[in-house]
């Protein structure tokens, strides 16, 4: 099965050449690659034997897989997943039990050093019994599969940063992939869940160029995580004008003003939601009237209430301002009064200068 090229598979599925090239162009633009790269992507995707992928799910909610599979099929990002060689994914595969595990072992053996490992979910490091698959602890399975992987993609915030399982008090001792594996190239595709097209584009990039795309300091692909939501948000002009919604049902909310005061984490969150949007570009949380939760950032569960605004004074601004103004005015009046007295005295003490006073005697 994995000897077939992607191109072969696509044609078998009745995907037109035009549809395929459109996908290549979309991928190139998403990754901010020059248009000249489109033929290269097409060539690579058409002629590469399908990339063997092993997908491991640990402490997760299956939301990442849901995001991927529910993604506006039959668009092309759904298709490419049909046409990589997804050799193991215990949620999606038909096989079960020992047959499933055998498929994983076979793929690992056959493609040793070449397969791509995708992980979703965090790894418990407390009691190994917290999460097991076929009696193997998550930690053991990760180490075993990672050993032969060409690269690892940590899909979702749990795999990338620990996510919800790692949230205080972290009862399972959950850790992210990069906490545990240090000798393999790792790319983090955080989000709860990540945007489908971001996942497919990263995989397409890996297939085309055989290496990871440019990453930021948190190992996230720059093409998608390079700008924050706030800078790209269509509600940004309201922020600049100081027009905010103060509750979810006030005039401001109805008029679509900025959700900053309702706790929107857009200013500190780096993701592509405001540009690629969700559900085939239909919308994204802020467009639906709710602030950004900051799900693609580390520790987002432990960052305080979703509805607490970023850096808004905790004190009563008006009162403090009033007292400060009064105190300032009092100091000003006192100093001014003293100065006026000093000046008045100086003027009073003025000795008229005559031509006899011009020299020292």
């Amino acid at each position: 099965m994995s000897d077939k090229t992607i191109g072969d598979s696509l044609r078998e599925q009745g995907i037109s050449r035009r549809g395929f090239l459109k996908f290549c162009a979309t991928t190139a633009s998403l990754l901010a690659l020059p248009p000249a790269m489109i033929p290269q992507i097409a060539y690579a995707l058409e002629n590469t034997p399908r990339q063997s992928v092993i997908w491991l799910s640990f402490q997760e909610c299956t939301g990442c897989t849901e995001s991927l599979t529910r993604s506006h099929a039959p668009t092309i990002e759904g298709l490419i997943f049909d046409h990589i060689s997804l050799d193991y994914h215990h949620t999606l595969q038909a096989a079960a039990g020992s047959a499933a595990e055998r498929a994983r072992e076979e793929a690992m053996k056959k493609n040793h050093g070449k397969y791509l490992l995708i992980v979703d979910g965090s790894i418990p490091t407390g009691n190994p019994g917290y999460s097991t698959i076929a009696g193997i602890s998550n930690l053991d399975m990760l180490k075993e599969v990672a050993a032969g992987a060409a690269a690892i993609v940590a899909i979702g915030t749990c795999a990338a940063f620990g996510g919800l399982p790692k949230a205080a008090p972290n009862p399972t001792g959950a850790m992210s992939v990069s906490d545990l594996i240090t000798d393999k190239p790792i790319i983090n595709v955080p989000g709860c869940p990540p945007i489908p097209i971001v996942m497919t584009a990263v995989i397409a990039h890996f297939i085309t160029f055989g290496k990871l795309p440019q990453l930021d300091n948190l190992n996230r692909p720059m093409a998608f995580y390079g700008q924050n939501i706030h800078d790209r948000c269509y509600r940004r002009p309201f922020y600049e004008k100081g027009l905010f919604a103060n509750t979810f049902d006030d005039e401001g909310a109805k008029k679509g003003w900025c959700l900053y005061k309702l706790g929107c984490k857009g200013p500190t969150t780096y993701n592509a939601c405001a540009t690629t949007k969700w559900n085939d570009g239909v919308s994204f949380p802020i467009e639906s009237g709710h602030g950004c939760l900051g799900c693609s950032e580390p520790q987002f569960w432990d960052g305080g209430s979703f509805y607490k605004p970023l850096s808004v004074p905790t004190i009563k601004v008006h009162d403090v301002m009033a007292y400060t103004a009064i105190a300032g005015a009092a100091v000003g009046l006192t100093v001014g009064g003293l100065n006026a007295m000093k000046k008045t005295n100086a003027v009073k003490q003025h000795e008229t200068v005559t031509i006899d006073d011009l020299e020292r005697k």
Binding site: V331, D357, L358, E359
Partner: protein
């Protein structure tokens, strides 16, 4: 008998600091643009001539006496107090190297009126006994004799006789109810008597009544130059009393920059009330005559000439267009120098600097700026409208061995008046 002391000077500094000065010191952004505007800096390259630096004694008093931080730090002995030695050192900066030309005030991006501050700082310097000898002498002569150059009315009378002979016109003295009271500067009486003749001729042609006054013929005010309001008030009062006693409508300031500034702008503040007459510079009056068709000239100057703007006239008085319109009546070959008008460079001798002997060397050095301006033009004649500028220009031109006659604008106009009227 009272005397100048440091304490008296310090008290005067304290007295002089007002809200504009506090605002100016607070606003200074230390950009240094005033340095580039000052010819004492541009011609020497010495940063001590930066205008705001010249105000350091005044700033120290402001900081120590009128700011919260300054009061606290001087209470704890953390600030350097102003000393008598400071004042002795700054005498050169406050007097010798400032002509009150006002270029720095014009360029200051935060609007600090540095000339106003220098003027105020001089009050402190006078009270502390740190004013220059030359100016002290001039002030004494002005108060005692009636003129900074020691000119007495008898001297003027001689010049009047001479002018009456030359022009065939009567020069009225102490006449009441006339339109104009003409006041003069000593320089015009001694060095340029042609000015008086020109006035007689022009008034005659324009058919205007005018007079000189035996008790107030001198317009210059050494009080302002040395920086003593008390003396300045005494001197300006002579003219105010004379003008009001003679019931004139307008007092004409002579071709003298500081006389004009004092009479027109500072006088009412010094005496604490508005005048009951108007004050105009002779150039303003001549331009009014011109506009009213009362000035009829014939012939044109053949020489290529340019005009040196007196600082007080352009920057304090805004008299920029008038001299050019007047020149247009009598000159065909007029060229403007670089920076002409509002930003023209000072001759180097204004603000009383011309009376300071120690300043002469520096004054000659900085005249280089005017020399550069003039050299570019290759003119035959230099016209101006200030007797003090005229003397300094003549001295400077001589020092740099440039052969260029300097002429007063009023005289030039008078020479072209249509005769036999």
């Amino acid at each position: 008998m009272s005397t100048a002391t440091f304490e008296r000077g310090y008290a005067a500094f304290k007295e002089q600091i007002d809200s504009p000065i506090a605002a100016f010191f607070n606003s200074c952004v230390h950009c240094g643009m005033c340095a580039e505007a000052c010819l004492f800096y541009t011609e020497t390259g010495d940063p001590k001539y930066t205008p705001i630096h010249k105000l350091e004694p005044l700033r120290k008093v402001w900081y120590q006496e009128y700011t919260l931080l300054g009061r606290l730090t001087s209470l704890l002995g953390l600030t350097e107090r102003l000393t008598d030695a400071d004042l002795a050192e700054w005498k050169h900066l406050i007097y010798d190297s400032c002509t009150l030309c006002g270029r720095c005030s014009v360029v200051c991006p935060v609007g600090n009126d540095l000339v106003y501050m220098i003027r105020k700082a001089r009050e402190g310097m006078v009270a502390a006994g740190h004013s220059p000898e030359g100016q002290i002498g001039a002030a004494k002569r002005a108060v005692i004799i009636g003129s900074p150059m020691g000119v007495q009315f008898v001297t003027l009378q001689a010049q009047i006789k001479h002018a009456e002979k030359t022009t065939g016109l009567t020069i009225p003295i102490d006449q009441t109810g006339v339109e104009f009271l003409v006041v003069l500067s000593s320089m015009e009486i001694i060095n340029y008597p042609e000015y008086l003749e020109a006035i007689a001729k022009i008034m005659h042609q324009a058919d205007k009544t005018w007079t000189l006054c035996s008790s107030a013929f001198e317009a210059t005010n050494t009080g302002i130059q040395i920086g003593s309001s008390d003396i300045a008030r005494q001197l300006v009062n002579r003219i105010v009393e004379a003008a009001e006693n003679l019931r004139v409508k307008t007092v004409i300031s002579p071709e003298c920059g500081h006389a004009y500034t004092v009479l027109r702008w500072e006088g009412p503040n010094l005496i604490g009330r508005p005048y009951r007459f108007k004050v105009r510079h002779i150039i303003e009056v001549l331009d009014e005559f011109r506009a009213g068709g009362k000035l009829k000239t014939e012939g044109f100057e053949e020489a290529r000439l340019t005009f040196h703007d007196p600082c007080q006239l352009v920057r304090r008085g805004g008299v920029i267009e008038q001299p050019r319109k007047l020149l247009g009546m009598v000159a065909r070959n007029f060229v403007e120098m670089e920076d002409a008008g509002k930003m023209n460079w000072c001759c180097g001798g204004g603000g009383g600097v011309s009376a300071i002997d120690e300043a002469e060397e520096l004054r000659t050095k900085v005249f280089n700026r005017k020399k550069i301006q003039l050299e570019k033009l290759k003119v035959d004649t230099l016209v101006t409208a200030c007797a003090n500028c005229r003397i300094i220009l003549e001295e400077g031109l001589e020092a740099y061995e440039m052969d260029l006659p300097v002429v007063g604008l009023t005289e030039m106009i008078a020479e072209h008046l249509v005769e036999d009227k």
